[in-house]
């Protein structure tokens, strides 16, 4: 309860017999678990939007609800970012101490996670009891019927193990994990955005500002479009070259042949270029993967079928990605991945990065960071990413990753219940603010609006402002248009790596990618069990589609004029 109002909008009750039997069956243990709760509140969960008493009540509920499952060991898996490492090392241990349920919380590569959840769906084996799976999978989960609809579960068989103070309305990313059928399949555990990052201190230097304006004819500032981003990249990499005796670069990215190369582009790079249609969250009828929809049915990715994956805008997006990597990024960037590149900018050699995941913000605020001033404040800022030549008002502006707790129906009921308890513990108000302050991946509005998070604003370079604005709703994950993320995502890195190795032109690679996506969509369309299954459009001459308003869009003959804004004006868009 908060402000005297019920905090969960669904009718969930913990039955008295369960509480009584739980307490009665483990009278001696109850003290152990209460002591553990007190110890964890004193030593770790010191920051919370709940009072100490409310935290104790919440932990007592976990201890009592867990009673039937004590001694059990459950297995969950998540991707390799700091938030999940914290959960694996700290929260899993706290949960064991407070409830008596052992948790093996594995942390692994995002692509491993994709393969593992797909394997459990295919094989029927109970490989894990819970997954923190990106909500990019929502199109898969609502279609296949193999995923537990949490909104159903917490009202029925899971009612007794659903936290009364879960407060679903407090989660900012609930829509991301909700299918078109209105059911919640994935409960957000962490969220991070993809934003523009730059060295505010360098951009603020009068000598560099004068030099830039003299050479390019407009002020050095936060780029609003790719034309300005490219000029700034060229300025720092080729003209400035060194600051304080150190080689610096006007652009940073990654290009190793690795699965993460795929999501570097499938995470909304095409929508930033302007390849899709207007409309949120993903663009309709053509989305950020270039897939055209008809109602809830994907009907094609290639231009010939009405998609935009090999459209001029998509080819332009890939061309710029490769050109900038080759011309303006440090040579090491070609050998870096999502994980290894994310922390690279903390070394202090990069002036700006067009597409930077805020999951790596803890590296920038760490004591080893070289992008923090002597007063402890950041030398950098984050701002909305600049947009490509085809982008129009009303289109998706950026990507947000939302890792959501996801459970498959073939999980045995007792293991599912125990895993659901752990999931709720990791997002409970008792622990969520402390988790946010350590890892900076917010999920709850109450935490975002908290005094403690607000106090961090001067040290987080714009992250607090981003999450306190409406931007948190319009930076969106991959949407429901992608009917089988695991089956389709592997094509991206395979074709993009050919462009980076000069084995294919951007146009050839995107045409081959669109063909592979279309073939798989057609195969998926033959699955009679799939909801909203793909129904491919028959191919038509590309010119027919290109002359129709919206995506796929014809080739632009003129490039936009470069535009920059001062930082404050730039973030007013949020």
């Amino acid at each position: 309860m908060r402000n005297g109002t019920p905090e969960i909008n669904l009718s969930v009750k913990v039955t008295l017999p369960l509480l009584v039997s739980g307490l009665a069956a483990f009278p001696a243990h109850a003290d152990v678990y209460t002591d553990a709760a007190e110890r964890w509140l004193t030593n770790e969960f010191t920051e919370s939007t709940l009072s100490h008493e409310q935290q104790m009540d919440e932990l007592a509920w976990f201890s009592q609800a867990a009673a039937p499952y004590r001694g059990m060991t459950i297995r969950v898996v998540s991707e390799r970012i700091d938030t999940h490492v914290y959960e694996a090392n700290v929260l899993a241990r706290a949960f064991r101490d407070i409830t008596g349920i052992n948790v093996i919380h594995e942390v692994t590569g995002e692509d491993d996670l994709v393969k593992k959840i797909r394997a459990q769906m295919d094989t029927g084996l109970n490989i894990y009891d819970g997954y923190i799976n990106d909500t990019d999978f929502i199109g898969t989960h609502f279609r296949y019927g193999k995923t537990v609809a949490l909104s159903d579960y917490i009202q029925a068989e899971g009612a007794e193990v659903t936290l009364p103070t879960l407060d679903l309305d407090d989660f900012i990313g609930l829509d991301f994990g909700t299918g078109p059928d209105g059911k919640l399949y994935q409960l957000p555990d962490q969220q991070f955005a993809n934003l523009y990052w730059y060295r505010h201190d360098w951009f603020s230097r009068p000598d560099l500002q004068r030099q830039f304006e003299t050479q390019y004819g407009y002020p050095l500032g936060v780029p609003q479009n790719w034309a300005a981003y490219e000029d700034i990249a060229e300025f720092f990499s080729h003209r400035v070259q060194r600051i304080d005796g150190q080689r610096i670069w006007g652009h940073m990215d990654y290009g190793r042949t690795d699965p993460s190369l795929g999501w570097r582009v499938s995470d909304a790079w095409l929508s930033l270029a302007g390849a899709g249609d207007t409309g949120l969250p993903n663009g309709y009828p053509v989305d950020e993967w270039g897939i055209r929809m008809d109602g809830c049915h994907p009907v094609g990715a290639s231009v010939a079928r009405g998609g935009a994956l090999n459209s001029p805008a998509a080819v332009y997006a890939i061309t710029k990605y490769v050109e900038w990597l080759e011309q303006f990024a440090p040579p090491q960037a070609f050998e870096l991945t999502f994980t290894s590149s994310g922390e690279w900018i903390a070394q202090g050699q990069v002036a700006q990065q067009v597409f930077w995941y805020t999951a790596f913000m803890p590296a920038l605020t760490a004591p080893t960071s070289r992008v923090t001033g002597q007063d402890g404040r950041p030398l950098w800022r984050v701002a909305p990413s600049p947009r490509g030549a085809y982008w129009q008002e009303g289109m998706k502006s950026g990507y947000q990753d939302a890792g959501g707790w996801t459970f498959l129906k073939n999980t045995p009921a007792d293991r599912l219940a125990a895993a659901w308890l752990y999931a709720q513990f990791t997002v409970s108000k008792t622990v969520s603010l402390q988790k946010l302050l350590v890892n900076l991946t917010p999920i709850r509005l109450s935490d975002i609006e908290s005094e403690q998070f607000g106090e961090q604003a001067p040290y987080l370079g714009g992250l607090v402002e981003f999450y306190r604005s409406n931007a948190r709703n319009i930076w969106t994950p991959t949407g429901v248009n992608v009917p089988d993320y695991a089956a389709l995502s592997g094509y991206w890195w395979q074709h993009l790596s050919q462009v980076l190795r000069h084995q294919a032109s951007p146009e050839e690679a995107m045409t081959a990618l669109a063909r592979d996506i279309d073939i798989t969509l057609e195969e998926l369309g033959n699955d009679p069990d799939l909801s909203c299954a793909p129904q491919l459009n028959p191919p038509r001459p590309e010119a027919d589609w290109l002359q129709v308003p919206g995506a796929p869009k014809p080739r632009l003959t003129q490039q936009p004029t470069p535009v920059t804004l001062p930082y404050r004006e730039a973030i007013e868009q949020w």
Partner: protein
Amino acid sequence: MVILRRLTGILLLLTACGGSRADEPLTLLTFDIPPLVNEQEGRQASGYAYRVVERMFELAGDEFRLEFQPPKRALRSAMELPNTCAFPVDRSQERETSLSWIGPVSVSRHGLYSHPDRPHPIATLDDARQWSISSYLGSGVGEYLQTQGFDIHLASKPYLGLLMLQANRVDLWIADTRAAPLIARAQGIELNEPELVFFTTLRSMGCNTSIPQERLRKLERALLTLYRNGELADIIELAP
């Protein structure tokens, strides 16, 4: 004449490539890791991962030739040699782009084992950072922990890691929880329950990327059929 000879050469090469693809059995490299794969005399094998692979080829109407190699060499050979696959290999993001994958042919739980005389209670994986740990070359889990900064010592074969534990050269040994008791018994070594079963891997067949995708897709479809018709449920038992 020069042109003709060159054309003839190209035609011969194309014919040879085509013949190789259509007619030659795939070379499957594996290693002794009971009960997943048991090496037997005369290049024969048993074990449940082997049975999965065998059934998959039967159903797909394809053929293979089996060879045993140490795991690391098997993995490298599959990456470098045409028409070659290795199994049962831990599939991981780091290895994803080096091979074409079909699987899982087994799902493995991996435990941390201590010497019965020197127990090291471990609640989460992070607790193991203070200890030295043995595994084997080619183990995806060993590589995974190395990249996470753990003190890992890699032996050339799975059982040698246990001998390192026995000889007090390391504090913990990583092993597949089904393989560990069998390896210990074969070596005449007493082994307790694992301190922590900390990681799960999908073990798959990793194939050279030059093998035509259509051939691999046929095998993959066969494997999926075996999973869906329930035939593999009896072969692959997975402890919770």
